[in-house]
């Protein structure tokens, strides 16, 4: 079930999570629509996730981004009911998680969904190999088999030779590799990442991001990735959901977010993003002006703007932007410079 490529890997419908003793009452009343501060003042409850819906496609890297306190960590924990949702429906591989019995839920956690944590959550009294094999151990796999499997995974994450070390003998980055290996070891269909790299320093973080991209290519898991770091989100996410105060304010590809922020919050967020690194030519090409020469070089619409700069500066003629066989528009040096200088360029919405 759920393995067919066209059905969604994860479906979330109208998910709510309200903390506090009177959560259910708030949920049933109109109070749930109050601003967070007002809600807390009035009822003492905190709405961490408010009416969130989204779908994650099989094999996709889906990023949820938001500042701390935006409810993103709560959201990801609701997916496998590490935190019990207050309302809403969650389906993973087509199965209704909310209705799963405790035993079934454990089965799902053991075999289908695994998670990587911000603070690693390693067990300091166990060797690296036993940490990686932990998930297999609680499934009841015999020692030899689970160690063999854990060994494979360790080399997959580049930790060959560290099997007998203890977690506290490793650097932070290596510890998180162990965390990653542990999540991978059970061969899940879905992997959840809760800000896995925010505790690492920037250089190591970059390595680890590359590692995740590589692993995603190699093992092709569906991934839900939580982060508060926009550049990480843009780098990893095929689609990104931006959360604020428990709600998703915009959901789309990096291009869509940067090109067409849904509101001031999002545009504020992405203000410092070098748009030329995210947007494609699709966003700035224009119809050729009458008499403009159309014999310049060709580039596909999906070319990132910054990658077009070299070609544009080498050629005196406008670049032809093509979408397949069709001409989508042209871009010349002036267009590029104007865009780069940050002047308001009319971007095509909803491209």
């Amino acid at each position: 079930m759920g393995d067919s490529p066209d059905s969604a890997a994860i479906t979330v419908e109208g998910l709510w999570k309200i903390f506090g003793s009177r959560a259910q009452r708030v949920l049933d009343s109109e109070d749930r629509h109050l601003e967070p501060a007002t809600l807390r003042e009035k009822t003492g409850c905190t709405a961490a996730v408010r009416d969130v819906s989204f779908e994650v496609r099989p094999g996709e890297v889906f990023v949820v981004m938001g500042l701390s306190g935006s409810g993103k960590s709560t959201l990801v924990r609701c997916l496998t009911r590490l935190i019990e949702p207050s309302a809403g429906e969650i389906r993973i591989g087509g199965e209704d998680i909310g209705r799963a019995s405790p035993a079934r839920l454990r089965e799902i956690r053991r075999h289908q969904v695994s998670m990587v944590f911000q603070h690693f959550g390693l067990l300091p009294h166990r060797k690296v190999i036993d940490n990686v094999a932990y998930g297999l151990e609680i499934q009841g796999m015999p020692r030899a088999a689970r160690h063999a499997r854990a060994g494979e995974i360790l080399s997959l994450v580049g930790l060959d030779g560290y099997a007998d070390a203890y977690p506290d003998q490793l650097s932070g980055g290596m510890q998180q590799r162990v965390g990653l290996a542990r999540a991978l070891a059970v061969d899940p269909q879905v992997m959840l990442f809760d800000e896995p790299f925010s505790a690492l320093d920037p250089l190591i973080r970059r390595d680890m991001q590359a590692e995740v991209i590589r692993l995603h290519r190699e093992v092709g898991k569906t991934m839900v990735f939580i982060t508060h770091d926009l550049s990480e989100a843009l780098k990893l996410g095929e689609r990104i959901a931006i959360m604020r105060a428990g709600s998703i304010v915009q959901l789309g590809t990096a291009e869509e977010l940067v090109g067409a922020p849904a509101d001031d919050y999002v545009s504020d967020f992405i203000r410092d993003v070098p748009r030329s690194h995210v947007l494609t030519l699709r966003w700035i090409c224009r119809d050729p002006e009458p008499g403009e020469p159309l014999d310049g070089p060709e580039l596909p619409v999906t070319t990132i703007i910054k990658d077009a700069i070299g070609l544009a500066s080498a050629s005196g003629r406008p670049i032809k932007v093509v979408d397949g066989d069709q001409l989508a528009g042209v871009v010349d040096r002036v267009d590029l410079l104007t865009f780069l200088s940050g002047q308001d360029v009319p971007v095509k919405a909803g491209a």
């Binding site: 944590f117 959550g121 390693l122």
Partner: protein
Amino acid sequence: MSSTTAVSAPPRVKVPRWVAPVGAVVLFAAAYLAFRGTGTLPHDKEAPQFLAVTELREWIDDHRNDNPLFLYFLNYIRLFVGGLYDLFQTTLYALGWPGLTGVMGALAWLAGGWRIALLAVSGVSAFGFLGLWQSSVDTLALVAAAVLLSLAIGIPIGVWAGLSARARRAITPVLDVMQIMPTFAYLAPLALFFHIGAPAGAIATMIYSIPPAIRITALAISEVSPTAVEASASLGATRRQTLFKVYLPLARSTMALAVNQTIMMALSMVVIANLISAPGLGGDIIRGLSRAQVGIMLPAGVAIVVMAVVLDRMMMSVAQRGSAVGWRSGGSGATRAGEGGGAGATERASRSAAMNRPHAKLSRIDLVAAGVLAAVGLALIPVLPRVWPESWTINVVAEVNDAVRWAETTWYPVTTFIKDLVTASLLNPLETLLTSAPWWLVTLAVLAVAWRVSGVRPALIALGCLLAIALLGTWEHAMQTMTTVAVAVLVTLVIGLLLGVAAARSPRYSAVQRPLLDAAQTMPAFVYLLPALALFETTRFTAIFASIIYAVPPVVRLVEDGIKAVPATVVEAASSAGSTRGQLLWKVQLPMARQAILLAANQGIVMTLAMVVVGGLVGAGALGYDVVLGFSQRTDFGLGFVAGIATVLLGVMLDRITQGADRRSSPRKRKSP
């Protein structure tokens, strides 16, 4: 009277802050002068409350073997505990001294390498050399039985409390009261339900030593990294799997502290349990006390200290072996665990854990050495006599007695002077004041102080306790005990503050003092009676002296830590503003260490009370003596029993008055949004 109230009454007039307290003092003084001698509640040995309890006891004694509650429940518990004790005792005796020495040495080697093994072997041999083999083994068996029971009950409860905040909230006040309860107070009810002898002693010891087992286990569990727990859950672990694979292993090193603390508490209680005929070293100490012969007490005291040190080091090594840096988020939470001693223990372990290499696995050499040691010991069992040969013992009774006699006669003028000075200038006036003042005036005064220091709730609890004391017919003796406690606490705090400040300001002095404090906190309470008795014979002052040396170490430690905990940046800022060292101390460090100092006062009071009551054995009189009397004379059982309850009430009262203080200092924080 009216003039003082008039001064503080008009609201708008700006009155200095001292007017209200001074007014209150004047008011109380005036009331005292006016009503002195009236409304007192003199002690009556034949009070109906006491007689009722004595009769109850007689009834229970007569029906112990036909009342279903006893026949089918209490007696079974007694039987079970007795069986457990016998099992240990028989095993230990069967091992004989070669076997026991070998096995202890082996265990110690496994726990902490050859140094600890050496310590254990020489420690166990010391029991023999001191001529106390049998008593020591009995004590060991009693401690083992009590500790095993404590852990069997305490650890599950502790785990539960660690996992569930609600359980913790329910258990904490019970533990608080249990830890305030002076050791003596446990004995009478136990004698009532479980008769006397080893089983009753083991049960008393168990009840006394269970709070740290619960408290530290709960702490250990609640300190387990939540991410590790979540990670385990996210992989589909059952609650049981998470408990056994995550919680318990991660909490292990802190739980070793729980075991350690439980053992230490048990060691100090087994001695007192001798009052209800529990066997062991307590017998020798009580014998020394009742013969006023330090020579008899000293070897027994040394044996207990040796036992405490050996077991302490063994458990500490186990704790260190397991603990790796960064497992736990700091051990400060255990401050109140285990009558003040716990604070030191937790901290001591985390301190030494930091120095210890983590994950030190047992090497093969260690295993072999331990095995050889045990094997040699066991192999020698049939060869050597089981009981320590008498010719190998060192008898120092006469020498010690002579030395004490020499000290007594030589220092007689000094000790007598100190004793008489304190008695005449502090004890007697205060006692006269408290016992001749009308009960309602004392009650009002306590209420006022408690209200002022701790707020409404603690004040009401204190009031309740005091009224109960009055109703129980123990007013006069409670006032006398309170006097002794007050004087002892006063001196303890003065000394504690001085030493604590000195240690906080001079790292070199602190380095000298720390190990002494560590050692002092390992020693069972009873040992402190020894020097006190040697110097001051049996008087109230003896108990005061003993409680001071008992309570000073934790007070010093708390004060020192409190001052050291003042952030370096604050100190730096004050210094850069040109403060002198004195100004720094008075205006920055002491005020900022207020919490710690109040906690120290609270600890001091609780510990002092415990000791003053034990001091009933050495002439402290009042409630403590009543308890002793209750065990000594059947007709006074009721008196002793009720005195025990009164002691607990007094303890709760004093604790509430002072404990509220540290809660009060932060209400403003909470109010501002």
